[in-house]
Symmetry: C2
Subunit: 315 residues, 2 copies
Protein backbone atom coordinates (compact mmCIF):
# COMPACT_ATOMS: atom_id res chain seq x y z
CA UNK A 1 0.00 0.00 0.00
CA UNK A 2 1.36 3.37 -1.08
CA UNK A 3 0.72 6.10 1.48
CA UNK A 4 0.19 9.76 0.54
CA UNK A 5 0.57 12.09 3.54
CA UNK A 6 -1.67 15.16 3.42
CA UNK A 7 -1.83 18.04 5.86
CA UNK A 8 -5.52 18.46 6.62
CA UNK A 9 -4.84 21.70 8.51
CA UNK A 10 -2.91 23.51 5.74
CA UNK A 11 -4.26 26.37 3.68
CA UNK A 12 -6.57 29.29 4.19
CA UNK A 13 -9.72 27.16 4.09
CA UNK A 14 -8.53 24.21 6.17
CA UNK A 15 -9.62 21.77 7.24
CA UNK A 16 -12.73 21.99 5.04
CA UNK A 17 -11.00 22.53 1.68
CA UNK A 18 -8.19 20.09 2.47
CA UNK A 19 -10.50 17.30 3.55
CA UNK A 20 -12.95 17.89 0.70
CA UNK A 21 -10.03 17.81 -1.74
CA UNK A 22 -8.86 14.54 -0.23
CA UNK A 23 -12.34 13.10 -0.69
CA UNK A 24 -12.32 14.26 -4.32
CA UNK A 25 -8.91 12.64 -4.81
CA UNK A 26 -10.24 9.24 -3.72
CA UNK A 27 -11.88 8.74 -7.11
CA UNK A 28 -8.63 9.37 -8.93
CA UNK A 29 -5.91 7.65 -6.93
CA UNK A 30 -4.97 4.03 -7.55
CA UNK A 31 -6.69 1.29 -5.58
CA UNK A 32 -3.47 0.52 -3.73
CA UNK A 33 -2.88 4.17 -2.73
CA UNK A 34 -4.13 5.44 0.60
CA UNK A 35 -4.35 9.01 1.82
CA UNK A 36 -3.09 9.70 5.34
CA UNK A 37 -4.59 12.87 6.79
CA UNK A 38 -2.70 14.76 9.51
CA UNK A 39 -4.78 17.06 11.69
CA UNK A 40 -7.54 17.59 14.21
CA UNK A 41 -9.38 14.26 14.20
CA UNK A 42 -12.75 15.63 15.31
CA UNK A 43 -12.73 18.41 12.70
CA UNK A 44 -11.57 16.06 9.96
CA UNK A 45 -14.29 13.56 10.81
CA UNK A 46 -16.90 16.30 10.91
CA UNK A 47 -16.03 17.35 7.36
CA UNK A 48 -16.03 13.74 6.20
CA UNK A 49 -19.45 13.20 7.75
CA UNK A 50 -20.80 16.33 6.09
CA UNK A 51 -19.41 15.01 2.81
CA UNK A 52 -21.05 11.64 3.37
CA UNK A 53 -17.66 9.95 3.22
CA UNK A 54 -16.87 7.09 5.64
CA UNK A 55 -13.88 8.00 7.83
CA UNK A 56 -12.30 4.60 7.20
CA UNK A 57 -11.51 5.59 3.62
CA UNK A 58 -8.55 7.47 5.14
CA UNK A 59 -5.85 6.94 7.69
CA UNK A 60 -6.05 9.77 10.17
CA UNK A 61 -3.09 10.81 12.29
CA UNK A 62 -4.45 13.02 15.05
CA UNK A 63 -2.46 16.17 15.76
CA UNK A 64 -3.29 19.02 18.11
CA UNK A 65 -1.38 22.01 16.77
CA UNK A 66 -1.24 24.04 13.59
CA UNK A 67 1.63 26.15 12.22
CA UNK A 68 -0.05 29.41 11.26
CA UNK A 69 0.96 31.64 8.36
CA UNK A 70 2.18 34.29 10.84
CA UNK A 71 4.41 31.88 12.78
CA UNK A 72 8.17 31.90 12.33
CA UNK A 73 8.60 28.76 10.23
CA UNK A 74 11.74 27.32 11.81
CA UNK A 75 10.75 28.16 15.37
CA UNK A 76 7.18 26.93 14.94
CA UNK A 77 8.34 23.69 13.31
CA UNK A 78 10.22 22.87 16.52
CA UNK A 79 7.99 24.48 19.12
CA UNK A 80 4.76 23.07 17.72
CA UNK A 81 6.01 19.50 17.81
CA UNK A 82 2.47 18.17 17.53
CA UNK A 83 1.55 20.30 14.51
CA UNK A 84 0.23 18.59 11.40
CA UNK A 85 3.29 19.63 9.37
CA UNK A 86 5.89 18.62 11.96
CA UNK A 87 4.22 15.27 12.59
CA UNK A 88 3.73 14.73 8.85
CA UNK A 89 7.45 15.25 8.21
CA UNK A 90 8.23 12.86 11.05
CA UNK A 91 6.20 10.18 9.28
CA UNK A 92 7.81 11.05 5.96
CA UNK A 93 11.36 10.96 7.34
CA UNK A 94 10.90 7.49 8.80
CA UNK A 95 9.08 6.14 5.76
CA UNK A 96 5.66 5.79 7.37
CA UNK A 97 4.24 7.81 4.45
CA UNK A 98 5.77 7.91 0.95
CA UNK A 99 5.20 11.60 0.26
CA UNK A 100 3.81 14.65 2.03
CA UNK A 101 1.74 17.54 0.72
CA UNK A 102 0.42 20.67 2.36
CA UNK A 103 -1.16 23.98 1.40
CA UNK A 104 -0.01 25.38 4.74
CA UNK A 105 3.04 27.44 5.69
CA UNK A 106 5.51 27.32 2.80
CA UNK A 107 8.27 28.25 5.22
CA UNK A 108 7.49 25.33 7.54
CA UNK A 109 7.30 22.98 4.55
CA UNK A 110 10.77 24.10 3.54
CA UNK A 111 12.07 23.65 7.09
CA UNK A 112 10.69 20.12 7.09
CA UNK A 113 12.18 19.42 3.67
CA UNK A 114 15.61 20.68 4.62
CA UNK A 115 15.89 19.43 8.21
CA UNK A 116 13.59 16.40 8.48
CA UNK A 117 13.92 14.69 5.08
CA UNK A 118 17.11 16.62 4.18
CA UNK A 119 18.74 17.41 0.83
CA UNK A 120 19.91 14.51 -1.30
CA UNK A 121 23.65 14.01 -0.87
CA UNK A 122 25.39 15.84 -3.68
CA UNK A 123 22.60 18.36 -4.26
CA UNK A 124 24.01 21.78 -3.39
CA UNK A 125 20.64 23.45 -2.86
CA UNK A 126 17.19 21.90 -3.28
CA UNK A 127 14.74 23.78 -5.45
CA UNK A 128 11.07 24.46 -5.92
CA UNK A 129 9.69 24.15 -9.40
CA UNK A 130 6.50 24.76 -11.27
CA UNK A 131 4.83 23.02 -14.14
CA UNK A 132 3.90 25.53 -16.84
CA UNK A 133 1.51 24.82 -19.70
CA UNK A 134 2.52 25.21 -23.33
CA UNK A 135 0.31 25.84 -26.35
CA UNK A 136 1.43 22.49 -27.73
CA UNK A 137 -0.29 20.86 -24.77
CA UNK A 138 2.81 19.23 -23.29
CA UNK A 139 3.77 20.78 -19.96
CA UNK A 140 7.19 22.25 -19.25
CA UNK A 141 9.02 22.53 -15.95
CA UNK A 142 10.37 25.85 -14.69
CA UNK A 143 12.90 25.89 -11.86
CA UNK A 144 13.81 27.54 -9.53
CA UNK A 145 10.63 29.53 -8.87
CA UNK A 146 11.58 31.40 -5.74
CA UNK A 147 13.46 29.34 -3.21
CA UNK A 148 16.95 30.38 -4.28
CA UNK A 149 17.66 33.88 -5.41
CA UNK A 150 21.26 34.78 -6.28
CA UNK A 151 21.99 31.24 -7.55
CA UNK A 152 25.51 30.16 -8.40
CA UNK A 153 25.91 28.62 -11.87
CA UNK A 154 26.79 25.25 -10.29
CA UNK A 155 23.44 25.30 -8.50
CA UNK A 156 21.56 26.18 -11.69
CA UNK A 157 23.37 23.46 -13.61
CA UNK A 158 22.17 20.93 -11.04
CA UNK A 159 18.64 22.21 -11.57
CA UNK A 160 19.00 21.27 -15.21
CA UNK A 161 19.69 17.67 -14.26
CA UNK A 162 17.05 17.59 -11.51
CA UNK A 163 14.46 19.06 -13.87
CA UNK A 164 15.40 16.62 -16.61
CA UNK A 165 14.90 13.67 -14.29
CA UNK A 166 11.57 15.06 -13.08
CA UNK A 167 10.32 15.74 -16.61
CA UNK A 168 11.21 12.23 -17.73
CA UNK A 169 10.03 10.37 -14.64
CA UNK A 170 6.93 12.33 -13.70
CA UNK A 171 5.84 14.15 -16.86
CA UNK A 172 6.76 11.23 -19.10
CA UNK A 173 8.84 13.31 -21.51
CA UNK A 174 11.57 11.33 -23.22
CA UNK A 175 14.95 13.07 -23.41
CA UNK A 176 13.52 16.36 -22.19
CA UNK A 177 15.08 19.44 -23.75
CA UNK A 178 16.83 21.46 -21.04
CA UNK A 179 17.45 25.16 -21.62
CA UNK A 180 18.69 28.22 -19.76
CA UNK A 181 16.21 31.09 -19.55
CA UNK A 182 18.08 33.96 -21.13
CA UNK A 183 17.73 37.29 -22.90
CA UNK A 184 18.84 35.92 -26.27
CA UNK A 185 19.22 32.60 -28.04
CA UNK A 186 22.90 33.00 -28.84
CA UNK A 187 25.49 31.38 -26.58
CA UNK A 188 27.22 34.67 -25.78
CA UNK A 189 24.04 36.39 -24.55
CA UNK A 190 23.06 36.99 -20.98
CA UNK A 191 24.43 37.94 -17.61
CA UNK A 192 27.43 36.38 -15.91
CA UNK A 193 25.20 33.80 -14.23
CA UNK A 194 23.37 32.61 -17.34
CA UNK A 195 26.54 32.46 -19.45
CA UNK A 196 28.35 30.32 -16.90
CA UNK A 197 25.30 28.09 -16.49
CA UNK A 198 25.15 27.64 -20.25
CA UNK A 199 28.72 26.34 -20.29
CA UNK A 200 28.12 23.91 -17.44
CA UNK A 201 24.92 22.50 -18.94
CA UNK A 202 26.46 22.24 -22.38
CA UNK A 203 29.16 20.02 -20.91
CA UNK A 204 26.71 17.77 -19.06
CA UNK A 205 26.25 14.63 -21.15
CA UNK A 206 23.44 13.32 -18.94
CA UNK A 207 20.97 15.88 -20.26
CA UNK A 208 19.61 16.89 -23.65
CA UNK A 209 20.81 20.49 -23.67
CA UNK A 210 18.85 22.83 -25.92
CA UNK A 211 20.77 26.08 -25.33
CA UNK A 212 19.05 29.28 -24.30
CA UNK A 213 15.32 29.92 -24.22
CA UNK A 214 13.90 33.43 -24.28
CA UNK A 215 10.89 34.60 -22.31
CA UNK A 216 8.84 34.57 -25.49
CA UNK A 217 9.18 30.77 -25.70
CA UNK A 218 8.48 29.72 -22.12
CA UNK A 219 4.89 28.89 -23.06
CA UNK A 220 5.35 28.03 -26.73
CA UNK A 221 6.91 24.65 -26.00
CA UNK A 222 9.09 25.02 -29.07
CA UNK A 223 12.45 25.24 -27.34
CA UNK A 224 12.47 23.55 -23.97
CA UNK A 225 10.78 21.08 -21.65
CA UNK A 226 12.89 22.10 -18.67
CA UNK A 227 13.67 25.78 -18.14
CA UNK A 228 16.41 26.66 -15.70
CA UNK A 229 16.54 30.06 -14.05
CA UNK A 230 17.40 31.90 -10.88
CA UNK A 231 14.59 31.90 -8.30
CA UNK A 232 14.18 35.65 -8.63
CA UNK A 233 13.45 35.39 -12.34
CA UNK A 234 11.39 32.19 -12.02
CA UNK A 235 9.25 33.67 -9.30
CA UNK A 236 8.61 36.75 -11.41
CA UNK A 237 7.66 34.59 -14.42
CA UNK A 238 5.32 32.48 -12.32
CA UNK A 239 3.61 35.41 -10.62
CA UNK A 240 3.32 37.32 -13.89
CA UNK A 241 1.59 34.28 -15.40
CA UNK A 242 -0.76 34.14 -12.40
CA UNK A 243 -1.52 37.83 -12.73
CA UNK A 244 -2.25 37.53 -16.45
CA UNK A 245 -4.40 34.47 -15.77
CA UNK A 246 -6.51 36.52 -13.37
CA UNK A 247 -6.73 39.41 -15.84
CA UNK A 248 -7.84 37.04 -18.59
CA UNK A 249 -10.40 35.45 -16.30
CA UNK A 250 -11.82 38.89 -15.50
CA UNK A 251 -11.88 39.73 -19.21
CA UNK A 252 -13.81 36.56 -19.97
CA UNK A 253 -11.00 34.76 -21.81
CA UNK A 254 -11.69 31.05 -21.55
CA UNK A 255 -9.60 28.39 -23.27
CA UNK A 256 -7.64 25.27 -22.41
CA UNK A 257 -4.24 26.97 -22.51
CA UNK A 258 -5.13 29.61 -19.94
CA UNK A 259 -7.13 27.17 -17.85
CA UNK A 260 -3.95 25.11 -17.53
CA UNK A 261 -2.39 28.22 -15.89
CA UNK A 262 -5.00 28.02 -13.15
CA UNK A 263 -3.19 27.01 -9.98
CA UNK A 264 -6.14 24.75 -9.15
CA UNK A 265 -5.09 22.50 -12.02
CA UNK A 266 -1.35 22.74 -11.49
CA UNK A 267 -1.10 20.56 -8.44
CA UNK A 268 1.28 22.51 -6.26
CA UNK A 269 4.99 23.08 -6.24
CA UNK A 270 7.29 20.10 -5.88
CA UNK A 271 10.32 20.56 -3.64
CA UNK A 272 13.05 18.80 -5.63
CA UNK A 273 16.40 17.54 -4.44
CA UNK A 274 15.32 16.26 -1.02
CA UNK A 275 15.04 12.64 0.12
CA UNK A 276 11.27 12.26 -0.28
CA UNK A 277 8.43 13.69 -2.36
CA UNK A 278 7.23 16.98 -0.87
CA UNK A 279 4.60 19.12 -2.55
CA UNK A 280 3.59 22.60 -1.44
CA UNK A 281 0.10 23.80 -2.35
CA UNK A 282 -1.16 27.34 -2.84
CA UNK A 283 -2.26 28.94 0.45
CA UNK A 284 -5.70 29.73 -0.91
CA UNK A 285 -6.20 26.21 -2.25
CA UNK A 286 -9.74 25.13 -3.09
CA UNK A 287 -10.76 21.48 -2.76
CA UNK A 288 -10.01 21.06 -6.47
CA UNK A 289 -6.49 22.47 -5.98
CA UNK A 290 -5.95 20.11 -3.03
CA UNK A 291 -7.03 17.20 -5.20
CA UNK A 292 -4.47 18.22 -7.86
CA UNK A 293 -1.80 18.52 -5.17
CA UNK A 294 -2.55 15.02 -3.86
CA UNK A 295 -2.50 13.56 -7.37
CA UNK A 296 0.88 15.21 -8.08
CA UNK A 297 2.23 13.72 -4.88
CA UNK A 298 1.02 10.27 -5.88
CA UNK A 299 2.63 10.76 -9.31
CA UNK A 300 6.01 11.65 -7.78
CA UNK A 301 5.82 8.62 -5.52
CA UNK A 302 4.83 6.19 -8.29
CA UNK A 303 7.50 7.59 -10.61
CA UNK A 304 10.11 6.67 -8.00
CA UNK A 305 11.41 10.19 -8.42
CA UNK A 306 13.42 10.35 -5.21
CA UNK A 307 15.39 7.17 -5.93
CA UNK A 308 16.11 8.38 -9.46
CA UNK A 309 17.41 11.70 -8.16
CA UNK A 310 19.48 9.98 -5.47
CA UNK A 311 21.09 7.72 -8.06
CA UNK A 312 21.87 10.65 -10.34
CA UNK A 313 23.77 12.48 -7.60
CA UNK A 314 25.53 9.43 -6.19
CA UNK A 315 29.29 9.63 -6.74
Amino acid sequence: MLKIGVDAMGGDFAPEAAVKGAVMALERIASDSRIVLFGDRARIEAVLEAEGCPADRFDIVATTEVIEMGDHPAKAFQAKADSSITVGFGYLARGAVDGFASAGSTGAMMVGSMYAVKPIEGVIRPTISSIVPTVGGRPALLLDVGLNVDCKPEVLAQYGLIGSIYAEAVLGIEKPRVAVLNIGEEEAKGNAQSKATYELLKADTRINFAGNVEGSHIFSGRVADVIVCDGFVGNTVLKMAEGLYRINKALGVDNAFWEAMNYENVGGTPVLGVNAPVIIGHGCSSPKAIRSMILSTEQCIRADLTAKLQRAFRK
Copy 2:
Protein backbone atom coordinates in the same frame (compact mmCIF):
# COMPACT_ATOMS: atom_id res chain seq x y z
CA MET B 1 9.38 73.83 -36.39
CA LEU B 2 9.99 70.65 -34.40
CA LYS B 3 11.96 68.05 -36.35
CA ILE B 4 11.51 64.30 -35.89
CA GLY B 5 14.37 62.31 -37.36
CA VAL B 6 13.38 58.93 -38.77
CA ASP B 7 15.60 56.23 -40.26
CA ALA B 8 13.89 55.28 -43.52
CA MET B 9 16.28 52.33 -44.00
CA GLY B 10 15.73 50.69 -40.60
CA GLY B 11 13.79 47.48 -40.02
CA ASP B 12 13.17 44.24 -41.87
CA PHE B 13 10.75 45.85 -44.34
CA ALA B 14 12.57 49.10 -45.02
CA PRO B 15 12.29 51.39 -46.74
CA GLU B 16 8.68 50.48 -47.63
CA ALA B 17 7.35 49.97 -44.09
CA ALA B 18 9.34 52.90 -42.67
CA VAL B 19 8.21 55.37 -45.34
CA LYS B 20 4.60 54.15 -45.27
CA GLY B 21 4.62 54.53 -41.50
CA ALA B 22 5.96 58.05 -41.85
CA VAL B 23 3.15 58.87 -44.28
CA MET B 24 0.62 57.44 -41.80
CA ALA B 25 2.16 59.56 -39.03
CA LEU B 26 1.58 62.78 -41.02
CA GLU B 27 -2.10 62.74 -40.06
CA ARG B 28 -1.30 62.54 -36.36
CA ILE B 29 1.65 64.82 -35.77
CA ALA B 30 1.19 68.47 -34.92
CA SER B 31 1.15 71.04 -37.72
CA ASP B 32 4.47 72.47 -36.54
CA SER B 33 6.18 69.08 -36.48
CA ARG B 34 8.08 67.85 -39.50
CA ILE B 35 9.46 64.40 -40.19
CA VAL B 36 13.04 64.18 -41.49
CA LEU B 37 13.69 60.94 -43.35
CA PHE B 38 17.26 59.59 -43.53
CA GLY B 39 17.97 57.16 -46.35
CA ASP B 40 18.17 56.34 -50.03
CA ARG B 41 16.46 59.32 -51.69
CA ALA B 42 15.37 57.49 -54.84
CA ARG B 43 13.88 54.58 -52.92
CA ILE B 44 12.16 56.89 -50.43
CA GLU B 45 10.66 58.97 -53.22
CA ALA B 46 9.52 55.83 -55.06
CA VAL B 47 7.58 54.67 -52.00
CA LEU B 48 6.13 58.15 -51.52
CA GLU B 49 5.03 58.24 -55.13
CA ALA B 50 3.43 54.81 -54.84
CA GLU B 51 1.61 56.09 -51.74
CA GLY B 52 0.46 59.17 -53.59
CA CYS B 53 2.20 61.39 -51.07
CA PRO B 54 4.09 64.51 -52.27
CA ALA B 55 7.77 64.27 -51.39
CA ASP B 56 7.76 67.80 -50.05
CA ARG B 57 5.70 66.71 -47.05
CA PHE B 58 9.04 65.49 -45.67
CA ASP B 59 12.60 66.63 -45.32
CA ILE B 60 14.80 64.00 -46.89
CA VAL B 61 18.46 63.64 -45.96
CA ALA B 62 20.02 61.44 -48.61
CA THR B 63 22.36 58.72 -47.33
CA THR B 64 24.06 55.95 -49.28
CA GLU B 65 24.75 53.23 -46.73
CA VAL B 66 22.78 51.01 -44.38
CA ILE B 67 23.93 49.30 -41.18
CA GLU B 68 22.67 45.75 -41.55
CA MET B 69 21.50 43.52 -38.72
CA GLY B 70 24.55 41.30 -39.23
CA ASP B 71 27.05 44.17 -39.00
CA HIS B 72 29.13 44.74 -35.89
CA PRO B 73 27.30 47.75 -34.42
CA ALA B 74 30.26 49.80 -33.20
CA LYS B 75 32.45 49.09 -36.21
CA ALA B 76 29.67 49.68 -38.72
CA PHE B 77 28.63 52.91 -37.01
CA GLN B 78 32.11 54.29 -37.76
CA ALA B 79 32.90 52.53 -41.01
CA LYS B 80 29.56 53.28 -42.65
CA ALA B 81 29.83 57.00 -42.05
CA ASP B 82 27.14 57.70 -44.62
CA SER B 83 24.65 55.22 -43.19
CA SER B 84 21.18 56.46 -42.27
CA ILE B 85 21.77 55.77 -38.57
CA THR B 86 25.22 57.40 -38.39
CA VAL B 87 24.06 60.47 -40.31
CA GLY B 88 20.85 60.61 -38.25
CA PHE B 89 22.82 60.69 -35.02
CA GLY B 90 25.06 63.38 -36.46
CA TYR B 91 21.99 65.54 -37.03
CA LEU B 92 20.67 64.70 -33.58
CA ALA B 93 23.95 65.47 -31.82
CA ARG B 94 24.20 68.93 -33.37
CA GLY B 95 20.53 69.72 -32.86
CA ALA B 96 19.49 69.61 -36.52
CA VAL B 97 16.73 67.19 -35.53
CA ASP B 98 15.07 67.06 -32.10
CA GLY B 99 14.80 63.30 -31.79
CA PHE B 100 15.75 60.20 -33.76
CA ALA B 101 13.92 56.94 -34.25
CA SER B 102 14.82 53.74 -36.08
CA ALA B 103 13.64 50.16 -36.38
CA GLY B 104 17.12 49.23 -37.58
CA SER B 105 20.11 47.79 -35.76
CA THR B 106 19.50 48.09 -32.02
CA GLY B 107 23.22 47.82 -31.44
CA ALA B 108 24.00 50.72 -33.77
CA MET B 109 21.23 52.79 -32.13
CA MET B 110 22.87 52.18 -28.78
CA VAL B 111 26.29 53.10 -30.14
CA GLY B 112 24.84 56.35 -31.44
CA SER B 113 23.09 57.02 -28.14
CA MET B 114 26.21 56.41 -26.08
CA TYR B 115 28.87 57.96 -28.31
CA ALA B 116 27.11 60.58 -30.46
CA VAL B 117 24.50 62.08 -28.12
CA LYS B 118 26.15 60.62 -24.97
CA PRO B 119 24.79 59.85 -21.51
CA ILE B 120 23.45 62.74 -19.47
CA GLU B 121 26.06 63.87 -16.96
CA GLY B 122 25.36 62.14 -13.66
CA VAL B 123 23.56 59.16 -15.19
CA ILE B 124 25.68 56.08 -14.43
CA ARG B 125 24.20 53.95 -17.20
CA PRO B 126 21.46 54.88 -19.65
CA THR B 127 18.56 52.45 -19.93
CA ILE B 128 15.98 51.15 -22.36
CA SER B 129 12.43 50.96 -21.15
CA SER B 130 9.09 49.69 -22.29
CA ILE B 131 5.57 50.91 -21.79
CA VAL B 132 3.35 48.10 -20.55
CA PRO B 133 -0.43 48.20 -20.55
CA THR B 134 -2.46 47.69 -17.39
CA VAL B 135 -6.04 46.49 -17.03
CA GLY B 136 -6.92 49.84 -15.56
CA GLY B 137 -6.02 51.38 -18.91
CA ARG B 138 -3.23 53.62 -17.65
CA PRO B 139 0.15 52.52 -18.99
CA ALA B 140 3.09 51.68 -16.76
CA LEU B 141 6.80 51.95 -17.51
CA LEU B 142 9.14 48.99 -17.06
CA LEU B 143 12.89 49.59 -17.00
CA ASP B 144 15.50 48.28 -17.71
CA VAL B 145 14.31 45.86 -20.38
CA GLY B 146 17.57 44.40 -21.57
CA LEU B 147 20.35 46.93 -21.95
CA ASN B 148 21.92 46.40 -18.55
CA VAL B 149 22.09 42.98 -17.00
CA ASP B 150 23.85 42.62 -13.65
CA CYS B 151 22.81 46.14 -12.56
CA LYS B 152 24.22 47.70 -9.43
CA PRO B 153 21.62 49.03 -6.97
CA GLU B 154 22.81 52.62 -7.59
CA VAL B 155 22.04 52.15 -11.28
CA LEU B 156 18.59 50.73 -10.55
CA ALA B 157 17.84 53.56 -8.14
CA GLN B 158 18.60 56.05 -10.92
CA TYR B 159 16.17 54.16 -13.14
CA GLY B 160 13.49 54.86 -10.55
CA LEU B 161 14.07 58.59 -10.92
CA ILE B 162 14.44 58.45 -14.71
CA GLY B 163 11.25 56.41 -15.01
CA SER B 164 9.39 58.75 -12.70
CA ILE B 165 10.34 61.76 -14.82
CA TYR B 166 9.35 59.94 -18.02
CA ALA B 167 6.01 58.79 -16.60
CA GLU B 168 5.17 62.30 -15.47
CA ALA B 169 6.44 64.17 -18.52
CA VAL B 170 5.48 61.80 -21.33
CA LEU B 171 2.71 59.59 -19.94
CA GLY B 172 1.13 62.44 -17.99
CA ILE B 173 0.97 60.55 -14.71
CA GLU B 174 1.09 62.83 -11.68
CA LYS B 175 3.40 61.65 -8.89
CA PRO B 176 3.94 58.28 -10.51
CA ARG B 177 4.25 55.40 -8.08
CA VAL B 178 7.74 53.90 -8.39
CA ALA B 179 8.30 50.30 -7.26
CA VAL B 180 10.99 47.65 -7.31
CA LEU B 181 10.05 44.43 -9.10
CA ASN B 182 10.51 41.80 -6.44
CA ILE B 183 9.50 38.32 -5.30
CA GLY B 184 7.47 39.60 -2.35
CA GLU B 185 5.82 42.77 -1.16
CA GLU B 186 7.62 42.94 2.16
CA GLU B 187 10.70 45.14 2.51
CA ALA B 188 12.94 42.25 3.55
CA LYS B 189 12.13 40.13 0.47
CA GLY B 190 14.28 39.63 -2.56
CA ASN B 191 17.85 39.18 -3.63
CA ALA B 192 20.79 41.33 -2.60
CA GLN B 193 20.22 43.65 -5.57
CA SER B 194 16.51 44.27 -5.01
CA LYS B 195 16.90 44.77 -1.26
CA ALA B 196 19.64 47.37 -1.72
CA THR B 197 17.64 49.11 -4.47
CA TYR B 198 14.64 49.25 -2.16
CA GLU B 199 16.67 51.10 0.47
CA LEU B 200 18.04 53.61 -2.03
CA LEU B 201 14.65 54.36 -3.58
CA LYS B 202 12.99 54.58 -0.17
CA ALA B 203 15.45 57.33 0.73
CA ASP B 204 14.92 59.28 -2.50
CA THR B 205 12.55 62.13 -1.71
CA ARG B 206 12.20 63.14 -5.37
CA ILE B 207 10.05 60.12 -6.18
CA ASN B 208 6.80 58.64 -4.92
CA PHE B 209 8.13 55.31 -3.73
CA ALA B 210 5.57 52.51 -3.56
CA GLY B 211 7.77 49.68 -2.27
CA ASN B 212 7.98 46.32 -3.99
CA VAL B 213 5.76 45.09 -6.79
CA GLU B 214 5.40 41.40 -7.56
CA GLY B 215 5.18 39.91 -11.04
CA SER B 216 1.46 39.36 -10.51
CA HIS B 217 0.89 43.12 -10.41
CA ILE B 218 2.98 44.32 -13.36
CA PHE B 219 -0.14 44.49 -15.51
CA SER B 220 -2.76 45.12 -12.84
CA GLY B 221 -1.77 48.75 -12.38
CA ARG B 222 -2.64 48.52 -8.70
CA VAL B 223 0.83 48.97 -7.28
CA ALA B 224 3.10 50.89 -9.59
CA ASP B 225 3.38 53.23 -12.59
CA VAL B 226 7.14 52.79 -12.87
CA ILE B 227 8.62 49.35 -12.33
CA VAL B 228 12.36 49.12 -11.79
CA CYS B 229 14.26 45.91 -12.51
CA ASP B 230 17.48 44.49 -13.80
CA GLY B 231 17.63 44.22 -17.60
CA PHE B 232 17.76 40.43 -17.40
CA VAL B 233 14.45 40.28 -15.56
CA GLY B 234 12.85 43.11 -17.55
CA ASN B 235 13.78 41.53 -20.85
CA THR B 236 12.28 38.23 -19.71
CA VAL B 237 9.07 39.98 -18.63
CA LEU B 238 8.81 41.82 -21.93
CA LYS B 239 9.49 38.79 -24.10
CA MET B 240 7.15 36.64 -22.04
CA ALA B 241 4.41 39.22 -22.59
CA GLU B 242 5.15 39.19 -26.32
CA GLY B 243 5.02 35.41 -26.40
CA LEU B 244 1.71 35.32 -24.56
CA TYR B 245 0.34 38.02 -26.85
CA ARG B 246 1.16 35.83 -29.85
CA ILE B 247 -0.37 32.78 -28.19
CA ASN B 248 -3.54 34.72 -27.40
CA LYS B 249 -3.71 36.03 -30.94
CA ALA B 250 -3.44 32.46 -32.29
CA LEU B 251 -6.13 31.36 -29.85
CA GLY B 252 -8.45 34.11 -31.04
CA VAL B 253 -8.33 36.20 -27.86
CA ASP B 254 -9.18 39.75 -28.81
CA ASN B 255 -9.60 42.57 -26.34
CA ALA B 256 -8.21 46.02 -25.66
CA PHE B 257 -5.85 44.90 -22.89
CA TRP B 258 -4.04 42.36 -25.05
CA GLU B 259 -4.14 44.60 -28.10
CA ALA B 260 -2.21 47.16 -26.06
CA MET B 261 0.52 44.51 -25.71
CA ASN B 262 0.89 44.48 -29.49
CA TYR B 263 4.27 45.99 -30.26
CA GLU B 264 2.65 47.79 -33.19
CA ASN B 265 0.81 49.96 -30.70
CA VAL B 266 3.61 50.38 -28.20
CA GLY B 267 5.72 52.79 -30.18
CA GLY B 268 9.19 51.43 -29.64
CA THR B 269 11.65 51.47 -26.82
CA PRO B 270 12.90 54.83 -25.57
CA VAL B 271 16.58 55.04 -24.71
CA LEU B 272 16.53 57.05 -21.48
CA GLY B 273 19.35 58.95 -19.83
CA VAL B 274 21.02 60.29 -22.96
CA ASN B 275 21.14 63.89 -24.20
CA ALA B 276 18.36 63.60 -26.80
CA PRO B 277 15.22 61.58 -27.48
CA VAL B 278 16.12 58.26 -29.10
CA ILE B 279 13.53 55.59 -29.83
CA ILE B 280 14.30 52.08 -31.05
CA GLY B 281 11.59 50.27 -32.97
CA HIS B 282 11.00 46.55 -33.34
CA GLY B 283 13.04 45.05 -36.20
CA CYS B 284 9.96 43.58 -37.83
CA SER B 285 8.05 46.87 -37.62
CA SER B 286 4.99 47.27 -39.80
CA PRO B 287 3.98 50.73 -41.08
CA LYS B 288 1.60 50.99 -38.12
CA ALA B 289 4.45 50.22 -35.71
CA ILE B 290 6.62 52.84 -37.40
CA ARG B 291 3.82 55.37 -37.02
CA SER B 292 3.61 54.58 -33.28
CA MET B 293 7.39 54.94 -33.01
CA ILE B 294 7.32 58.34 -34.69
CA LEU B 295 4.48 59.53 -32.46
CA SER B 296 6.36 58.40 -29.33
CA THR B 297 9.38 60.33 -30.51
CA GLU B 298 7.28 63.44 -31.01
CA GLN B 299 5.80 62.98 -27.53
CA CYS B 300 9.26 62.77 -25.92
CA ILE B 301 10.36 65.90 -27.77
CA ARG B 302 7.21 67.89 -26.89
CA ALA B 303 7.41 66.79 -23.25
CA ASP B 304 10.89 68.32 -23.07
CA LEU B 305 11.98 65.06 -21.55
CA THR B 306 15.70 65.47 -22.11
CA ALA B 307 15.88 68.85 -20.38
CA LYS B 308 13.88 67.52 -17.44
CA LEU B 309 16.23 64.56 -17.08
CA GLN B 310 19.30 66.80 -17.40
CA ARG B 311 18.01 69.10 -14.65
CA ALA B 312 17.26 66.15 -12.35
CA PHE B 313 20.82 64.87 -12.58
CA ARG B 314 22.52 68.26 -12.40
CA LYS B 315 24.52 68.58 -9.19
